[in-house]
Amino acid sequence: MNPLEIDASLNPESPTNPALDPHTHPEHTHDDAGNRLFGFIVFLLSESVIFLSFFAGYIVYKTTALDWLPPGVTGLAVREPAINTVVLVSSSFVIYIAERFLHAKNLWGFRVFWLLTMAMGSYFLYGQAVEWRGLPFGCTDGLFGGTFYLLTGFHGLHVLTGILLQGMMLLRSFIPGNYDRGEFGVVATSLFWHFVDVIWIILFVLIYLWQ
C-alpha cells in the first residue's frame, strides 16, 4: 500500500467510526451555563487559597510570636460570635430550600427563603460590626490585632458580596421568565454562600475556639 494512503479501516466516513457518534463526546457542548458554573467553581478554588494563606499566616504567628495578644487583652468573648456562627451556618440550609423552590418553579417560595437568607447574612454582618466596636484593640495592635481584623474583615467582605449578589438575583426573579432557561446566577450565588460559610467555620475554630 502506498504509505501516503489512508488505511481503509480508518475510513472516517464509516458509520462505525466512534468519532462520528455525537454521544461519544459529551465534552463538546456549547453549554454556556455549564461552562460558567465550571469556571465559577474553578474560581472559588483559587479564592480558597487566599484564605488558606491567611490561615497559615495566623497559625504561624500564633505559634511563634513573642507577644501574641495586645497588652491588656486576655482573649475574645465567644458567646456572641457563636450565635452569629449559628445564624450564618443555618442560612446555608435556608438558601438551599430557596433553591429547591426555584427548581420546583415556585417563585414566591424562592423569594421568601432567599430574602430570609439575606436577612440572616445581614444579621451576621451587624453582629460583627457590634463586636468590632466593642473590642479594646485595633488592627495596628500587634500581630493578633492585625490578623484578627484581616481575617474577619476579609471574610466580612465576602459576606457583603454574597448579600449583594443575592439582592441582584432577587431583583432578577421579577423579570418575567428570567429563570426559565436556567438558573446559573442562583446556583452560583448559593455556591458562593456555602463557600463563605465553610470558610467562616474554619475561621471561627481558629480565632475563637483555639485561644
Binding site: I6, P18, G39, G57, V60, L150
Partner: protein, 560 residues
C-alpha cells in the same frame, strides 16, 4: 476525499482570505481570542523593549567598577523595574497572548470559554503597566526593593508620602494577579470543556497540556502571593505589623508567601516554552514527538512538584537544617520530569531530516541554553553550593540563561513559527537568521560571564564593585548591548513582513495540528464546521489523518 495523507491534506492550497486592512481592531475592546492574543503579544513586546533599555542602563553602570553613571537609588530602581517589567509585563503576558491565540485553534474551539472576561483580563495589563511606570513620577521614584519586595527593605518609606513607588508597585502587582487569575479560570474551563469532538486529552497537542499545567499554577499559586502583597500593603499604608520585625512581625513569613508562588511561577513561564519546543521539533524534524504521552503527563507532574520546592530560595534565610534537606530533595526531583522532556526532544530530533528554518534554529538554541541552565540549577539546588553563591551573580547568570536563553528564544521560535498563521504572510528568513545569530552570541556574551563573577563572589544588586571583577563585567555589558541590537532585525522583520511579506498558504510548514487546517489568518469563527478529531497529534510519517472531515473544514472566505 479520504485518500489523502496528512502531508497532502496539509498542502491543499487556499486563497488568502484577503487579510482585511482593519488594523484598528487591535486597538479596540475585541472579544476575538485571536485579536486579544495579538494585543497581548504586541503590548508585552513593547514592555520587553522598555525592560531591555533598563537592562542596558544597568549594564552601562556596571561597565566600570565605580558607581559613576547613576545615583545608587536610581540604580536600585532600575533593577527593580527591570525585573518586574520583564517578568510581569513581558514573559507572563506574552505567553498568555500566545496561548490565547493558539489554544482555541489547537483544540478546535471557536473562541475561549469567556470571551469578555478574556478581553477584560487583557486590558488590565496596560493599566498595570501605566501604574508601574507612573512610579517614576511620584516622590522618591519607583520601588527600590527588587522584584521580590522583601520586607523590611520594602517597608521603608523614605518620603513619608502615602503614594510612593512601593505602594504603586504592590497595587500594580495585585492588578496583574487578578488579571492572571481571570485568565487561569478562562484557560482551564476552555481546555476542559471546549474541545472539538474526538479531541480526547491524549489527542491534545503538548502545548495545550503545558498551558493547562501552567494555568493550574497560576490558579493555586497566585492567591498566596496576593495574600502576602495585601498584608505588605496594609503594613505600608495602615500600619499593621505583619512583616515588620521592629514591631514583632515576621519578614521570613513574607518570603514563604512570595516563593510559594514565585518559584512555581518559573514553571508558568517555562512550561509553555516546553510546549512550544514540543510543537516545533516534530515539524522541522518530520518525526512524531518521541514519547508523546509521557511528555504530556510530565507537565502535570512538574506542576505538582513545583508546589513543594519553594524553600530552596530560602536556604540562606535561617531555615532549619531538616527543611533545607527536604527542599533540596524535592527540588532535585523536579529534574526528573524535566529531564524526560529533554530526552524526548533529543530523541525526536535524532536522525530526523532537519529543516533549519528560523523557528527551528531558535528552538534548538533555546534547548541548548536550557540544558546549560539546568546544570547550574542543580548546582544551586545543592544546599552547600547555594549557601556559597547565594545573592551573587551566579544566580543572576543561572536565571538569565533560563529566561533569556530558553524562554525568550522559545518565544521567538513561536513568533516565527506561527507568524504565517497569524498574519497570512511569510517572514524573511535572512533577517530571521541574522536575528538568531545575534541573539545567540549576545546571550552567551552577556550571561556567561555572570557565572565566573558569581563564583568569585561578586554580589548582585550593587552599582559598584571591586576592580578585580572588571574584565568579565565589560564582556557582559558588551553582550547586553549586542542583545539590545539583536531586536532590531526582529522588529524590522515582523513589521515589514506583515505589511508586505509573501502571502502564506494555510500550512507553510506542512505541520499537523488543527490550527494548520484553517486559513491564514483564520476567519473570525475559526472553524465553520467543527473538526472531528480521530488521531493523536504528531502523526508525521504515519498514515492516519488528523481529522475525519478535512474537506468540510474548507473555511468560507470573505472576498478582499
Amino acid at each position: 476525499m479520504t485518500n489523502l495523507s496528512v502531508d497532502e491534506l496539509a498542502q491543499i492550497e487556499q486563497p488568502l482570505p484577503g487579510a482585511p486592512n482593519n488594523w484598528q481592531r487591535f486597538f479596540s475592546f475585541s472579544t476575538d481570542h485571536k485579536v486579544i492574543g495579538i494585543q497581548y503579544l504586541v503590548t508585552s513586546f513593547f514592555f520587553f523593549l522598555i525592560g531591555g533599555i533598563f537592562a542596558m542602563i544597568i549594564r552601562g553602570e556596571l561597565i566600570t567598577p565605580e558607581a559613576d553613571l547613576l545615583d545608587r537609588s536610581v540604580y536600585n530602581a532600575m533593577f527593580t523595574m527591570h525585573g518586574t517589567i520583564m517578568l510581569f509585563l513581558w514573559t507572563f503576558p506574552s505567553l498568555v497572548g500566545l496561548s490565547n491565540y493558539l489554544v482555541p485553534l489547537m483544540i478546535g474551539a471557536k473562541d475561549m470559554a469567556f470571551p469578555r472576561l478574556n478581553a477584560v483580563a487583557f486590558w488590565m495589563v496596560p493599566v498595570f503597566g501605566v501604574i508601574l511606570m507612573a512610579s517614576f513620577w511620584v516622590p522618591g521614584g519607583p520601588s527600590q526593593s527588587g522584584w521580590w519586595a522583601y520586607p523590611p527593605v520594602s517597608l521603608q518609606n523614605p518620603t513619608g508620602h502615602l503614594i510612593n513607588g512601593q505602594v504603586l508597585w504592590l497595587v500594580a502587582v495585585a492588578i496583574s494577579g487578578v488579571s492572571s487569575i481571570m485568565g487561569a479560570v478562562n484557560f482551564i474551563t476552555t481546555i476542559a470543556r471546549m474541545r472539538a469532538p474526538g479531541m480526547t486529552w491524549f489527542r491534545m497537542p503538548v502545548f495545550v497540556w503545558t498551558v493547562f499545567a501552567a494555568q493550574m499554577i497560576q490558579l493555586f499559586g497566585l492567591p498566596a502571593l496576593t495574600a502576602g502583597a495585601v498584608m505588605l500593603l496594609l503594613d505600608l499604608t495602615v500600619g499593621t505589623s505583619f512583616f515588620d520585625p521592629a514591631k514583632g512581625g515576621d519578614p521570613v513569613l513574607f518570603q514563604h508567601f512570595f516563593w510559594f508562588y514565585s518559584h512555581p511561577a518559573v514553571y508558568v513561564i517555562i512550561l509553555p516554552i516546553f510546549g512550544i519546543f514540543s510543537e516545533i521539533f516534530p515539524v522541522y524534524a518530520r518525526k512524531p514527538l518521541f514519547g508523546y504521552k509521557v511528555v504530556a503527563i510530565s507537565s502535570l507532574v512538574i506542576t505538582g512538584l513545583s508546589g513543594i520546592v519553594w524553600v530552596h530560595h530560602m536556604f540562606a534565610s535561617g531555615t532549619p537544617g531538616w527543611m533545607r534537606m527536604l527542599f533540596m530533595a524535592t527540588t532535585m526531583l523536579i529534574s526528573v520530569p524535566t529531564g524526560i522532556k529533554v530526552f524526548a526532544w533529543v530523541a525526536t530530533i535524532w536522525g530526523g531530516k532537519l529543516r533549519l528554518n528560523t523557528p527551528m534554529l531558535f528552538a534548538l538554541g533555546g534547548l541548548v541554553m536550557f540544558v546549560f541552565s539546568g546544570v547550574t540549577g542543580i548546582m544551586l539546588a545543592a544546599v552547600p553550593v547555594d549557601i556559597h553563591v547565594n545573592n551573587t551573580y551566579f544566580v543572576v547568570g543561572h536565571f538569565h540563561y533560563v529566561i533569556y536563553g530558553a524562554v525568550v528564544m522559545g518565544l521567538y521560535a513561536a513568533f516565527y513559527h506561527w507568524f504565517p498563521k497569524m498574519t497570512g504572510r511569510m517572514y524573511s528568513e535572512g533577517l530571521g537568521k541574522l536575528h538568531f545569530v545575534l541573539t545567540l552570541i549576545g546571550t552567551n556574551l552577556n550571561f556567561f560571564p555572570m557565572h565566573p563573577l558569581g563564583l568569585q563572589g561578586m554580589p548582585r544588586r550593587v552599582a559598584s564593585y571591586d576592580p578585580e571583577f572588571a574584565f568579565w563585567n565589560v564582556i557582559a555589558s558588551l553582550g547586553a548591548f549586542l542583545l539590545g541590537m539583536s531586536t532590531l532585525p526582529f522588529i524590522l522583520n515582523m513589521i515589514g513582513s506583515w505589511v508586505q511579506g509573501e502571502t502564506a498558504s494555510k500550512n507553510p510548514w506542512r505541520a499537523i495540528g488543527l490550527e494548520w487546517l484553517v486559513s491564514s489568518p483564520p476567519t473570525v469563527e475559526n472553524f465553520e464546521e467543527l473538526p472531528i478529531v480521530i488521531s493523536e497529534p504528531y502523526g508525521y510519517g504515519k498514515t492516519e489523518p488528523l481529522v475525519a472531515n478535512p474537506d468540510r473544514l474548507e473555511v468560507a472566505h470573505e472576498s478582499p
